[in-house]
């Protein structure tokens, strides 16, 4: 049994930041609690103090369009809030699609965006999506505020770039323009399992040519990854299905993967080649590719 600890319930962000600034990594913020409470249950994490953010929700859960046409997502918006928000449906369909298959509605009702970043588990669905959207995460501490690009956020198992004294306040998504995007979640065992692979792919087009491409993979290694070679192969081009197949095959072959209990490295590489091809065919409006190649 874990030892006793205290729960503090700050009434303002400043008060929360002061509580987090004790130089003690076992002083942690808790919001939905769906991640942290399990780590405590398993004995992986024994807090000295939990800083409950429950009184801060009213000021940190807004979802709104920013003056530049981007979207600002409050860190304490629940995943269900985001899934149900018209702004997300309209401007960030990729995020909405990914949330629809994230765990179950019971989890999405409790889990919040900030926690879905700070938890830092490599098999989450949100990280590759945030990478593909060029998300910028705003954090604050008593030392000041800073912005961490989603791409620099995830550092390994339960490890993120958020320092012990920092709190995630919001996520900013820059304007995406006219684009097509998809999230493919591949599970190794049951349909509602954690992903063994998550693919977030997005292309913005300008006059028939691809002006911007983003492709990010989650759940393969200890952190999500962008695929810059795939992105540059797509950018400025107008590929057909044969080229897409080659791009996906080359990308899969270049990945540095390792064997895992549910999937060998070779199997993971095969799955990436198949599903990356299908994801790209889908967003390039070349069919979904499911008639070709193995399921």
């Amino acid at each position: 049994m874990s030892s006793g600890f205290t729960i503090e319930e700050p009434r303002s962000v400043d008060e929360a930041l002061t509580l987090l600034a004790q130089g003690d990594e076992t002083v942690r913020a808790i919001a939905g609690g769906t991640g942290l409470s399990l780590l405590m249950k398993y004995g992986f994490f024994e807090p000295a103090t939990l800083v409950s953010l429950r009184h801060l929700r009213s000021s940190l859960a807004d979802i709104e369009v920013t003056p530049d046409g981007g979207v600002r997502l409050g860190a304490m918006a629940t995943l269900r809030d985001l899934e149900d928000a018209p702004i997300v449906a309209e401007r960030l369909p990729l995020l909405r699609q990914a949330l629809g298959r994230l765990a179950t509605v019971r989890l999405r009702n409790a889990a919040q965006l900030g926690g879905a970043i700070a938890h830092g588990h490599p098999q989450m669905d949100t990280p590759p999506v945030l990478l593909a959207l060029d998300a910028q995460v705003q954090v604050a501490s008593i030392r000041g505020a800073r912005t961490i690009a989603a791409q620099d956020m995830f550092l390994g198992y339960y490890e993120t770039a958020v320092e012990d004294d920092e709190l995630i306040l919001e996520v900013r998504i820059p304007p995406q323009g006219e684009h097509r995007a998809t999230y493919r979640k591949i599970t190794a065992r049951a349909e509602d399992d954690w992903p063994m692979l998550g693919i977030a792919a997005l292309v913005a087009t300008d006059g028939g040519r691809i002006s911007r491409a983003r492709v990010a993979l989650g759940a393969l290694t200890d952190r999500p990854m962008r695929l810059p070679d795939v992105e540059s192969a797509l950018q400025g081009s107008d590929p057909g299905s044969d080229e897409v197949e080659a791009i996906a095959r080359d990308a899969a072959a270049a990945l540095d993967l390792y064997d895992k209990p549910a999937a060998s490295a070779a199997y993971q590489r095969h799955i990436v080649a198949v599903h990356l091809r299908r994801a790209l065919l889908e967003i390039l409006d070349l069919g979904d590719g499911s008639s070709k190649g193995g399921r």
């Binding site: 006793g4 600890f5 729960i7 609690g33 769906t34 807090p47 429950r54």
Partner: protein, 179 residues
């Protein structure tokens, strides 16, 4: 709240924390508790409410489903001490003692109950669904109960029971609307 940079505590866990929860409309005191206990544990082991079931303990199976401030959650993944001020509704609070809700009765009538372990969680989930979507299509029903795992694989009759309740409620509403 205590100061934790004092001398090391060699007497074991500090179990002296007390707080109050609102369960099914009643204030309930939780005394001498470890603050890391889940809402599920407190409901079952401290407050005498064993209707919410404990199976996976990690948010996968839905057996512990409860309503918290009007939202369906897994009570195994919520810290009880962080649910202070929340309006918690459990399966025990759905109908007065000795009576059944229409959803519970429909489950019985449809033969949807096999071993029964998953049923309280399913009942709470189905009430939540029908409150939000009185006439759900099959996909909505499946989405709502995904995350309520039945290992007797009795989903067919469960789906039937949900449609039966939705139809009965719609018929009752139509009756009421008649001049």
């Amino acid at each position: 709240m205590t100061d934790h940079d004092a001398t090391p505590d060699l007497t074991g866990p500090d179990l002296s924390e007390s707080y109050a929860l609102s369960i099914n409309g009643r204030d309930r005191e939780v005394a001498d508790a470890w603050l890391g206990e889940s809402l599920l544990y407190v409901l079952r082991e401290r407050l005498g409410l064993p209707g919410s079931k404990n199976a996976c303990e990690q948010g996968e199976c839905g057996s512990c489903s409860v309503m918290m401030d009007g939202l369906l959650v897994n009570s195994c993944c919520v810290l009880a001490a962080d649910a202070v001020d929340a309006d918690v509704r459990t399966v025990e609070g759905l109908a007065p003692d000795g009576t059944l809700t229409d959803v519970q009765q429909a489950f019985l009538d449809a033969g949807a109950v096999q071993c029964g372990f998953c049923i309280p969680g399913l009942i709470v989930s189905v009430h939540d669904l029908l409150d939000r979507a009185p006439q759900p299509d099959e996909l909505e029903v499946r989405e709502a109960i995904s995350g309520n795992l039945c290992r007797c694989t009795g989903y067919g009759r469960i789906l039937q029971a949900v449609q039966d309740v939705a139809a009965a409620r719609t018929a009752a509403d139509a009756q009421e609307d008649r001049p």
